[in-house]
């Protein structure tokens, strides 16, 4: 079905960013616009999701050029689900930013750039053209360069250099892959590519291109040999920024991987083994990396890598059940990882440190906040009925059904590692007796902030925790969505027909 308003989530974020640029100097007005605008964006994406759920895939051709030649935007269940999650996490981070981002950063245009980042994310999810996907990736990384360096602290710049270098490398690889693909098929439209790649007889070259895509997206989503930039940079920016980075940026890579490898390159035996191998080692290296870390945000950064492994594992198993697991895990992980980094930021604002050695006694001093934080921590572990549990259930079921026992073993091992790490965090931050931490002068502590700012920070964490709980308890509905997504991923005919059908 064709509707010109498919691009509305993208255009609305652009509109917000432009509006915010007009109020460059008014900090309070910027905060208001950002929060209200994010709320409207959530409503838009809910409406879009409902429409797609009821009536099937929506498409639009930018500039009204017909499908394989023009730029297509496609809203199927998967992409609208991702847009919905993006706007939900975006709303929470926007509220959290109101409380936690310093005025100096807002003065340098934090909010406009933040909405440009959200525009890029929405665009990447809705793009139906592989080169357009690249352009959205560029918008995402350019905005994230600004966000990661804004404020200009020394540690921040050091992390930013690694981040920028690796992401530019990924872009180059991605662009090369697109160029080869265009040379092979003469098309850039993903639905059109799906048909044309299947007809190519030179399977070796197709596999090479597929591996280039795997490397390009792999750097962005931080899978095994290419993940080291992530823990080196994600702990440096302010908490609100690392929350949106941790929650969403790597997930775009995962989304692109799942999209490309279910639509364009249907993986053969070799690719499946490669992807599952990468997934297994990603789980292991992320988990072990998190074990030896002592900084709260570094632990969470390694956990991102570990759990990216779970999502890639679903792609590696490559059955419908496993893909349900992947999509469910993606849903759960975006919400929970965003919450975790916000929790880490809140702990820092209260205690003035991220170090596990120095932290302690949190439960005794702030029992209510601790209970709130426990929700996201334990749903990460996947204790039933919290949200992480169901996703792993599907992954393991999928793995067992194809007899991929060693990958199932790694998934279980990853879960145990996560459990162990979260137990360590819980014991270190919440249960251990508190020791006196020297008061830092340059840190503005939680109790010094205005009540509105405090409520904004806690409120956004409550919002996401409730969301995470409802994913866990309302798993039935999420499973329905995820299975519809997985079904359409395994059978891309509907997608292809929706994009190209109008021309035939």
């Amino acid at each position: 079905m064709s509707s010109p308003f498919v691009v509305l989530p993208i255009i609305f974020q652009l509109f917000l960013a432009v509006l915010l640029m007009f109020c460059w100097t008014q900090k309070n007005l910027q905060k208001l616009i950002s929060v209200v605008g994010s709320l409207v964006a959530v409503i838009i994406s809910v409406v879009l999701f409902a429409a797609v759920w009821k009536e099937g895939i929506y498409t639009t051709q930018a500039g009204n050029w017909v499908a394989p030649f023009g730029i297509t935007f496609v809203a199927d269940t998967f992409s609208t689900l991702m847009v919905l999650l993006t706007t939900l996490a975006g709303l929470a981070v926007s509220v959290f930013s109101v409380g936690s981002v310093r005025n100096a950063r807002i003065k340098f245009g934090y909010f406009p750039i933040y909405h440009f980042l959200l525009m890029g994310l929405n665009g990447a999810f809705l793009a139906g053209d592989i080169f357009n996907l690249y352009v959205w990736f560029e918008i995402i990384i350019i905005s994230s360069f600004v966000l990661i360096t804004i404020g200009g602290e020394k540690a921040q710049l050091e992390g930013a250099v690694k981040y920028v270098t690796m992401n530019l490398l990924a872009s180059v690889v991605f662009l090369t892959a697109i160029a080869i693909l265009y040379g092979l098929t003469g098309s850039l439209n993903m639905a059109d590519l799906s048909l044309k790649v299947a007809e190519i007889e030179n399977r070796g070259l197709v596999n090479v291109t597929a591996i280039l895509f795997l490397v390009g997206f792999g750097i962005k989503s931080a899978v095994f040999p290419l993940y080291f930039w992530l823990p080196a940079s994600y702990h440096t920016p302010p908490p609100a920024i690392s929350a949106i980075f941790g929650g969403l940026l790597t997930k775009v890579g995962v989304y692109a991987l799942i999209r490309v490898f279910t639509l364009i390159f249907i993986p053969d035996e070799f690719m499946i083994n490669l992807i599952s191998g990468m997934a297994a080692i990603t789980i292991l290296s992320g988990g072990i990396g998190a074990l030896i870390q002592n900084n709260l945000r570094k632990i969470f950064s390694y956990l991102i890598i570990c759990h990216i492994g779970f999502m890639i594992a679903g792609l590696g198993i490559y059955t419908e059940t496993a893909l349900i697991g992947s999509v469910f895990y993606l849903t759960h992980d975006i919400i929970v990882k965003t919450t975790l980094f916000m929790v880490a930021g809140l702990i820092f604002k209260i205690k003035g440190t991220y170090s596990l050695r120095l932290l302690g006694g949190f439960y005794k001093e702030y029992p209510k906040l601790s209970l709130l934080m426990s929700i996201s921590l334990f749903s990460l572990v996947g204790i039933p009925p919290l949200s992480g549990f169901w996703a792993k259930l599907f992954l393991i079921e999928g793995g067992l059904s194809v007899g991929n026992y060693w990958l199932v073993g790694f998934i279980l091992l990853g879960s145990f590692l996560t459990l162990f790490i979260i137990a360590k965090v819980w014991a270190g931050v919440f249960w251990k007796d508190s020791i006196h931490i020297p008061v830092k002068m340059q840190v503005k502590y939680f109790h010094e902030l205005k009540p509105l700012k405090r409520q904004a920070m806690v409120g956004s964490i409550i919002f996401l925790s409730v969301l995470s709980l409802s994913i866990g308890f309302g798993a039935e509905y999420v499973i329905q969505v995820a299975s519809k997504v997985a079904e359409s991923l395994m059978n891309p005919q509907d997608y292809i027909h929706a994009v190209l059908g109008q021309t035939n």
Binding site: S2, P4, I11, L14, M21, T60
Partner: protein, 136 residues
């Protein structure tokens, strides 16, 4: 720089180059040119002027902070892109006038989009260069 020749020349170059920039902008639809190149040429005009007469003089000519051009340009581009929605057509569909305007030629929504790009490029380039030359 205190050279009289350069200073005098730059006063004549500024309007000339701005005219050339607008020419490149208008020609951009079917021939080489367009908003991006035009914007660069226009900002080069201001930069040359600032080299000859000092940053403050150029600032006085522009009258407002060049960064303000960024949201203005983006708004124009956004409106030009979204205008086809009013006619129920997809985003960024080209809307064209029936009759050509003298000198400019056939005007369509693409021209307004390009004008937006033109302004954004001027805004960004001048903001960057002015900020850097302040610190020099």
């Amino acid at each position: 720089m205190k050279t009289l020749i350069f200073k005098t020349a730059s006063n004549y170059l500024l309007p000339l180059l701005l005219l050339f920039a607008v020419f490149i902008l208008l020609r951009g639809h079917y021939l080489p040119g367009g908003g991006f190149v035009g914007g660069l040429i226009a900002s080069i005009a201001f930069v040359i002027h600032s080299f000859a007469n000092g940053l403050e003089t150029t600032r006085k000519i522009i009258k407002f902070h060049p960064g303000f051009l960024m949201p203005v340009g983006l708004t124009i581009a956004l409106v030009a892109g979204a205008a086809p929605w009013l006619f129920g057509m997809p985003f960024m569909t080209g809307l064209w006038m029936d009759e050509p305007i003298p000198v400019i030629g056939l005007v369509g929504s693409a021209l307004f989009f390009d004008t937006g790009v033109f302004l954004v490029v001027i805004g960004v380039t001048l903001t960057i260069i002015f900020t850097i030359s302040e610190g020099l």
